[in-house]
Every structure is written in structure tokens, then in C-alpha cells.
């Protein structure tokens, strides 16, 4: 009996040690998502909620890439929708229409993403601040027009459907796609965590605060701006591929300004510098609508009224909580901790008398 207790204690201690690791929380999060997926199979979680969670995960990947741009490099870009759309069309065309193996498609998409990222990065070297948003908006419009007009690649305004998703020559079921999305989501989170804690992340942060100061400390603007855009584009293209695997359909009107604005809103609302915040923000902007608000009769009758909540959230957060909702939660956490300490102190005073 005593040996067992010793083992248990050792196990608990090792868990405690593990829980200090920065990956721990996110891996637990991934396991929870897997459990939710299994509960969905057994019917405990409704399919609507599961679909919402999967979509939120895909959008979170985009948001993570965008947060590297906005929260770390300080570059406000509105071209996100175009990049994601490009990802969907890459897999839809090369794997769907032409029937290439998935690996080939992935390589082509990554090369495409890098080329595009480098182009936008070079643009960002010349144009800064407010203007960059407008110019990337123009770039996104160009891509949308290309999606509409280049029928051989995108099937034009009718939209491109993609049904034969295959990994290593095997057709893949919806369940496997969901598992793949969860896996890639967690991998992307860990990758982002590594990037932002590495010298690259610090360099991006320095660049955000002051270009001139960063340059004088030996940080190459050229290198890191290009890197930031290439990373954001790669995230967006990967999310696009997953979107196509999950939704099986892509149409140019999806990839318009609203989509970019919503991703921006998600990053701002959650908190652009915290991974938990970004996931929270994406859920607030996309998931809240799909999972909860659509069950309320008012929003069923007026589907567009959901935008009001998103817009209000953005404005309130920017004006009162510039760090994002995650700061609000932190503030609540600290206030609870301080309350608890006060109560504990009061109890001690009552129990053992005043300390001299």
C-alpha cells in the first residue's frame, strides 16, 4: 500500500513538473479536442458543435499566421482572404482536377505561398502603416478578380468543388480529415509558440516597436519583413488546404474583404500577442455565431445582426482593452487571486490573532 502511494506521489510530481512546460497546456487542449471528437462519434456532442469547432480550428490557423504579422511584426495586412483562397484553389485544382498526389500539391502550394509572401514582403518594404492595409486590400481584390476570371484554374464564379481528397493514395473519410485538422492545428500552435519565443520573434517584436531602433540593433528589415509575410502566407495556404478538405467547396465570393476583416477582428478581439487569446478571439468571432447565437430566434430571423456583435466587440476591445479579451480574463484572474489572499489573511487574523 505504501509503495503505491509513493509511486502515485512521484507520478503527480512528474505531472506537476511537466505542467510547467510551455507546450503542456496546448497538448492537453489537443487531447480535449480529440475527446470531443470521440464524444461526437458516440453522439454526446452535436454535429453542429463539432462542425463549428473544426471550422474555428481552421480559422485559428489563419489567425495565428495573421497574428505573427499584426501582433509581432506590426504590419496591418488585408490580403488574408486572397491567400486562403489561393490555398483552396491549389488543392482543388492540382489534387482535385488534375489528380496529383497530395504531397506534390503540398509542395506546389508551399512554393506558391513563399513566392507570394516574398512579393507582398517587398511591397511592405516600400509602403508602410495605413497605406499598407489599403495596398494589400488592392492585392486581395486582384486575387479575387483572378479567382473569378481564371476559369481553367478556379472554375470561375460557379465555384470549385473537391471530393476526392486522398492521402498516400487512400481516399480519406470525414473523420480522418477532422483528426488531421486537430493534429495540424496543434502542430501550428506549437510552431507559433517556438517562433515567437525564438530570436526571430524577438526581432519581429523589436521591428514592431520601432523600425529605426531595430535597424540600429542590427536587425535586417528586409529579412524579417519578408519572413513575416512568408510565414503568414504559409499559414493561410495551409488553412486553405484544410478548409477545402473539410468544406469540399470554394467560391470566389467567400474570399472578399469581409473575410479579411473578420480574421483581423478575431486577432484584435482575442489579443494579438497571446496564442490563447487568438484562439479565444477566433471562437468569439466565428464560433459564437455558429454554435450559440444561431439557436436564438432573434438571430435566426436576422442573420446579419451577428455582425453588430462582432463590430461592437472590436470597437470596445480597441478602445478599452487594447491587449485583447485575454487581458480581461487575466485581470479577472488576478482580482480573484487578490480577493482570495485577503480572505485568507482575514481568516488568519480571526483564528490566530493580529500579527505584530
Amino acid at each position: 500500500m505504501s509503495i503505491l502511494t509513493v509511486y502515485l506521489k512521484a507520478f503527480l510530481k512528474s505531472i506537476q513538473k511537466l505542467s510547467k512546460h510551455p507546450y503542456f497546456g496546448f497538448i492537453v487542449f489537443g487531447v480535449v479536442l480529440l475527446i470531443v471528437q470521440l464524444m461526437n462519434l458516440s453522439g454526446l456532442v452535436t454535429p453542429t458543435l463539432m462542425k463549428t469547432l473544426i471550422l474555428v480550428m481552421i480559422y485559428s490557423i489563419i489567425s495565428l499566421g495573421f497574428a505573427l504579422l499584426l501582433g509581432y511584426a506590426g504590419l496591418a495586412s488585408l490580403g488574408t482572404a486572397g491567400f486562403v483562397g489561393l490555398g483552396t484553389y491549389f488543392i482543388g485544382h492540382f489534387s482535385g482536377t488534375l489528380g496529383y498526389p497530395f504531397i506534390v500539391t503540398l509542395v506546389i502550394s508551399l512554393i506558391g505561398a513563399i513566392v507570394l509572401g516574398v512579393i507582398v514582403g517587398f511591397i511592405s518594404l516600400r509602403i508602410e502603416g495605413l497605406y499598407l492595409g489599403i495596398i494589400t486590400l488592392g492585392l486581395s481584390e486582384i486575387m479575387k478578380e483572378v479567382f473569378k476570371s481564371f476559369s481553367a484554374f478556379t472554375n470561375g464564379v460557379n465555384g470549385l468543388s473537391f471530393r476526392n481528397f486522398a492521402l498516400f493514395g487512400q481516399p480519406v473519410s470525414d473523420l480522418t480529415v477532422n483528426l488531421l485538422i486537430i493534429f495540424v492545428f496543434i502542430i501550428m500552435i506549437l510552431a507559433t509558440l517556438n517562433i515567437i519565443k525564438s530570436p526571430t520573434g524577438r526581432a519581429l517584436l523589436a521591428m514592431k516597436n520601432s523600425d529605426s531602433a531595430a535597424q540600429s540593433m542590427g536587425i535586417s528589415l528586409l529579412k524579417y519583413r519578408l519572413l513575416a509575410f512568408v510565414l503568414a502566407t504559409i499559414y493561410a495556404v495551409i488553412a486553405g488546404i484544410l478548409y477545402m478538405a473539410n468544406q469540399k467547396f470554394s467560391i470566389p465570393t467567400t474570399w472578399s474583404l469581409d473575410f479579411s476583416l473578420n480574421i483581423l477582428a478575431a486577432v484584435i478581439v482575442g489579443g494579438a500577442q497571446s496564442i490563447t487569446g487568438i484562439i479565444l478571439g477566433t471562437f468569439m468571432i466565428f464560433g459564437l455565431n455558429l454554435a450559440i447565437l444561431q439557436n436564438i430566434p432573434f438571430f435566426q430571423n436576422n442573420p446579419d445582426a451577428v455582425w453588430i456583435i462582432n463590430g461592437l466587440l472590436i470597437i470596445l476591445v480597441i478602445m478599452f482593452y487594447p491587449g485583447g479579451l485575454i487581458r480581461l480574463f487575466q485581470a479577472i484572474k488576478y482580482s480573484i487571486i487578490s480577493r482570495y489572499k485577503k480572505i485568507k489573511h482575514a481568516w488568519r487574523v480571526y483564528r490566530y490573532g493580529e500579527d505584530d
Binding site: 506590426g74 496591418a76 511591397i123 516600400r126 509602403i127 508602410e128 502603416g129 495605413l130 497605406y131 492595409g133 489599403i134 495596398i135 486590400l137 488592392g138 492585392l139 481584390e141 486582384i142 478578380e145 483572378v146 476570371s149 520601432s210 529605426s212 531602433a213 472578399s256 474583404l257 476583416l261 483581423l264 477582428a265 484584435i268 436576422n302 446579419d304 445582426a305 451577428v306 455582425w307 453588430i308 456583435i309 462582432n310 463590430g311 461592437l312 466587440l313 472590436i314 470597437i315 480597441i318 478602445m319 487594447p322
Partner: protein, 360 residues
Amino acid sequence: MLNNIIYLVLGIFVSYFLIDFIFFRKHSKRPILRTRLINILIMLAILISFYLVVKEMSVYLFLQIFLLNIVDLCVLALATTGIVLIFKTSVTTNFAQGTMATFGAFAAAKQLLRLSATTEYSMTTKLIMVMGVAALTSFLIGLFIDLAIIRRGRNVNAVGKQMITMGLVLILFGFMPLVFGTTPLTIEAFSYDVKIFNIGEMMLILPTHNYYVLLITIGLLGLLFLALRFTKWGLGVRATASNETVASMMGVNTRLITAMSWAIAGALGGVAAFLYAPVGAQITSTFMTPVQVNSFLSAVLGGFSTFGGPLVGALLINMFQSMASFINSVWANVIVYTLVLFLVLAKPLGLFGKKTAKKV
């Protein structure tokens, strides 16, 4: 002809790098000379490409397309002026300009329905009354936005303010179906006749609606520019634009100036949406989005530092569009946006932008 233009662009690039490398390499004033060279080359490129395309299209066709597209130009000019006015006083690019304008157009269309049902005025009278409604609605929305949000967000940085306007877009999008219902509305044109007139031997057709639109736009913009030049408000706007803190220290009521700028920009947008509605067929919540995108691009192309520059930008974009749709109608927008992108890359502050010293 497309080949000629591609050769022209390539030639301009090559000559820029050659001249820069051979003549300016060891010059002490290299950056200044470079900007001058870029200015000259851009002027040359625009003039030569205009000449090439107009020669291909014939002058008659060019003028005719210009007259038929004049509504687009006027709407673009009005929307762009609104955006620049807001940029001058609040240092933010207003993404909600198009949505504010759409609100005005919706209100106008509703009012037009009511007037048609209850009164017996002639169509032109009704339309003029309704234009007032559109301007007033957007005026009030602009005023409200400044009073409720922008004024309280003074300590928000420029990009943050830009995001606030994006949030406003979402809010207004959400409110539109709640307030005006989901049935698409329409506004009739002033007139469906055409005017035929001769210049030399050319017989040109000008739709009467376009004629009225042109008159209204010139009147409004003329008034605005006179006000900016000669009234106390205009002086205040210019003072606030150059430095808000100093202006407020010198006794300029910057709060009032900013609020009025938002309101007037809203009104301009409302009129623009009202004029654009008969062309864009139905009023939906997104029908001003192309105008919004184009007006941003023309403001960036012309440069935010002057009021006249963006108007030239609007004119250029409009002409590019009619020419590009002549060259290849499917890819017209792609051609125009790419051209603008290249122009802005060559001159990041816009064609008429002035460089301001930045404090590090």
C-alpha cells in the same frame, strides 16, 4: 497594342536602372535625382500609354466611353474627397465611408417609396428631396460616429483607429437589414433620355442622368473647395491637418472641426451613393464596396497630403478602367489594380504626395 505597352513598361524600368546606375551612382544628391527621374518617367509612361491606347480606340470612342462612365467618375470623386477629409482631421483611413453612404441610399430609397405613395410631386422634385434625405442621414451618422467613438478614442494609435472603422463597417452591415428590411430597393435615375451634341464632326451621346450627376458633383465639390479655401472652417481643417495639438493651442476648436469633417464626409458619401444607385441597379448592403475600394486606391494614388491629388487619382483610375475594359474586358480590373500597384510602389506617398519628416 498590349505588346507595345508591355515594351513601354519594360523600357521605362530598364532606362530607370541604367540612368540611375550610370549617371547618378557617384552623385552626392542621388536620392533627390532619383525621385525626379521617377517623376519624369511616370509622366512619360502615362502620356505615351494614353497616346497609344487612344490612337487604337480612336478619339471618338474614347470620349464616348468617358461620357458614358462619367457617373462612376463623379461617385468616385465624391467618395474619395470624403475619405481624404476624414484622413486630414482624424489621421485614419475610413473603411466605413461606403457603408455610411449605403445607409443614406437606403433611407433615400425608403423615403422615395413613401413620397411616391402619398404625394403627387414630379419625379425630379421627389428625387431632389430624396437626395437631401440621403445626405442628411449620412451626415447624422458621420456626426454620431465622431461624437460617440472617434472623439473618445483619441489615445488610440492610427492603425487602431483604422480597425475601429472596420468594426463600424460590421456594425452598420448588421443594422442595415434590421432597419430597412431585406427586400432590395431601387432609386430611379433623374431621366432616362439622352442628349446628343456635336464636337467638330463627332456626334456624342450623353445620357441626361449623367449630365445632372456631373452638375451636382461639380457644384458640391466646388462648394467644398471654396469652403476649405475661404471659410473659417476650412482654415481650421487645414490647421488641424497640419498639427492638431498646435491648432488647438492656437484657439481652433479641433473637436468641432473633426466632428464637422466626419459629418460632411458622410454627407458627400450619401450623395455619392444616391447618384450611384441608379447605375448599380439595386441597393444592397454591399453595393458601394467596389466604389469604396476604388476610392481608397485613388486616394493612395493621388496621395493623402493634398485635396486635389486624390481627385486626379480618381480621374486616372476611371480612365484606366475604361481603357482596360477596351483592351480586355474580363481582366480589366486586374490590369487597373496592377497598374495602380506599380505606380504606388514607384511613388509610395502618391503622385502628389509630400514627404514629411518623421521623428524617430
